[in-house]
């Protein structure tokens, strides 16, 4: 579904990704494991079109999206739930969710998707008319995920969904991600909580200093000595 072929990308003169290649297949849950600054967020931002790779290609369902603008990539069905929530602070929760369904492919199904998302996030229902900025961090993260779901994406990308949240909220976030995965969604996830993420994933890539150093099934990565030592602390 998604094929990344040897991309270099970075900010200005600073190159962060060096020849990164990876793929995500239909209904697969793939995770990128790596230390802070390894280039995980940069990889997701490049796929989303917020950054343009200097070399290499990105294909989505066979179409070359390397040079496509971020909003056109959303139209194709790739949605990124960004790090740090990035809600619209002075909009109500309902308005935030409606913005999630801005994509043409989602606009006509707004009401239907809203019902589905409300089932997944019953606690958001009570908050619909509140301003997003008045919610707690955990609630904001739930809204950010719900907003991503509103786009009815073919590929859903998570960037650090549990970052900065209390342990009990982290558990809730993983519960929700588990439900999304169980529904057969195609997911690419970057997450500091490597153990839980590998448990939920089918496959994983290990990214170090902007290059993929290891790729295997999630099960195998959980048993891999290097992964255990460097990322699981075992």
């Amino acid at each position: 579904m998604l094929n990344i072929e040897g991309i270099d990308a970075g900010y200005g003169a600073t190159t962060i990704l060096n020849g990164v290649s990876l793929e995500v297949n239909q209904s697969e849950v793939v995770t990128i494991v790596g230390a802070n600054g390894a280039g995980k967020t940069t990889t997701l931002r490049t796929i989303a079109g917020l950054l343009k790779p200097t070399t290499g290609r990105i294909l989505f369902e066979g179409e070359d999206i390397t040079k496509m603008s971020a909003h056109d990539i959303v139209e194709l069905g790739i949605t990124l739930i960004p790090e740090g929530r990035q809600l619209f602070p002075d909009m109500t929760v309902r308005e935030n969710l409606l913005m999630g369904a801005y994509r043409r492919g989602a606009r006509d199904h707004q009401a239907e998707t809203m019902d589905h998302v409300m089932e997944l996030f019953p606690r958001i229902r009570e908050r619909l008319d509140q301003h997003a900025s008045s919610l707690s961090g955990g609630e904001q993260q739930m809204v950010a995920i719900a907003r991503g779901m509103m786009a009815r994406p073919k590929l859903l990308m998570f960037d650090e969904p549990s970052l900065g949240l209390a342990p009990i909220i982290v558990a809730q976030v993983f519960e929700v991600i588990g439900k999304i995965v169980a529904s057969g969604a195609t997911v690419l996830i970057v997450e500091q909580n490597v153990f839980n993420t590998l448990k939920a994933a089918d496959r994983g890539y290990v990214l170090e200093n902007g290059s993929i150093v290891l790729s295997d099934t999630a099960e195998a990565l959980l048993k891999d000595d290097h992964v255990r030592q460097a990322y699981l602390g075992i």
Partner: protein, 294 residues
């Protein structure tokens, strides 16, 4: 008592005028975060256009709005597309300020070239005649300006809150990167917003032209008040601009009558400074809120 009511009525009318010329400015700033220093010259261009349409085609000045508002929309959209957009990536954001100041000067001189230094009087079509409204007398044209300003505020708020495109505009204003991730074409929203802001100035032009003589420097006459109104109301807030305009209009009128017309501006700016010291973000400003999401 009757004098007081008349002075208040005059203040409200003045407030309506200040509101109609300020709404476009606050809209553009609130969304694009660019201060359009050519705002007054947009008004001047719209007034000259109203003058031309009215005198050449013999139309009622208000009828000219069907041409002036779309023309100003195009002027605004082109300004964003060709002048502001290429500078958005400039390392120093002051470059955009200088660009709009440059546009302002260019437009004033273009107007001098075409119309000379003379004053152009748009036919008033009876709008300068006064009507009795209970205990007070007001100019018919001024009453229409106040009504239009109020309707414009309501209409814009409805558009921004209840329509998909309006919400997309607010989304871009609140979080540009997140808006992109929703599939919103941010550059297009900027062009559209600048166009809408300028079209508001177009509407103002056709309403103001029958009451005020048009000249190449008429923009500078109005623009300072527009900036005061917009800052007082809270940069980017449309209802704020309306309330700010009414306050400034009332102050201007009351101070002019009861304190002395020489001290009018001293009082207006004095109160303006006091309000800003007490509430730096303006009456309806939200930008300085601490509860922002990172």
């Amino acid at each position: 008592m009757e004098t007081f009511l008349q002075v208040v009525a005059n203040g409200l009318m003045l407030g309506g005028l200040f509101a109609i010329i300020s709404i476009g400015l606050t809209l553009i700033f609130g969304i694009i975060k660019v201060v359009n220093f050519a705002h007054g010259e947009f008004l001047m261009a719209g007034m000259f256009l109203t003058y031309l349409i009215t005198t050449q085609l013999g139309l009622h000045p208000y009828a000219s709005v069907v041409v002036v508002a779309p023309a100003l929309f195009v002027l605004g959209a082109v300004t964003q597309k060709l002048l502001i957009q290429p500078l958005l990536s400039a390392r120093d954001e002051h470059v955009q300020i200088f660009a709009t100041v440059g546009l302002s000067t260019a437009m004033i001189n273009l107007a001098l070239l075409i119309f000379g230094a003379d004053i152009a009087n748009t036919p008033s079509s009876g709008l300068r005649s006064s009507i009795q409204l209970g205990p007070v007398r007001i100019l018919e044209g001024q009453l229409y300006i106040l009504i239009c300003a109020a309707l414009l505020v309501v209409g814009l708020e409805f558009f921004l809150r209840r329509t998909q495109t309006g919400r997309a505009i607010r989304a871009v204003a609140q979080n540009r990167a997140a808006a992109q991730l929703m599939g919103i074409n941010v550059n297009w929203i900027y062009v559209l917003s600048f166009g809408i802001g300028a079209a508001c100035v177009g509407l103002a032009s056709s309403l103001v032209a029958p009451l005020y003589p048009t000249s190449s420097t008429i923009g500078t006459y109005f623009v300072l008040t527009a900036f005061v109104v917009v800052v007082l109301g809270g940069l980017g807030s449309i209802p704020g601009a309306f309330v700010g305009a009414i306050i400034i209009g009332l102050l201007d009128s009351l101070a002019g009558f009861y304190i002395g017309s020489d001290l009018r501006e001293a009082v207006v700016f004095g109160v303006f400074l006091v309000i800003l010291i007490l509430k730096p973000s303006g009456l309806f400003g939200t930008r300085l809120k601490l509860s922002h999401i990172s």
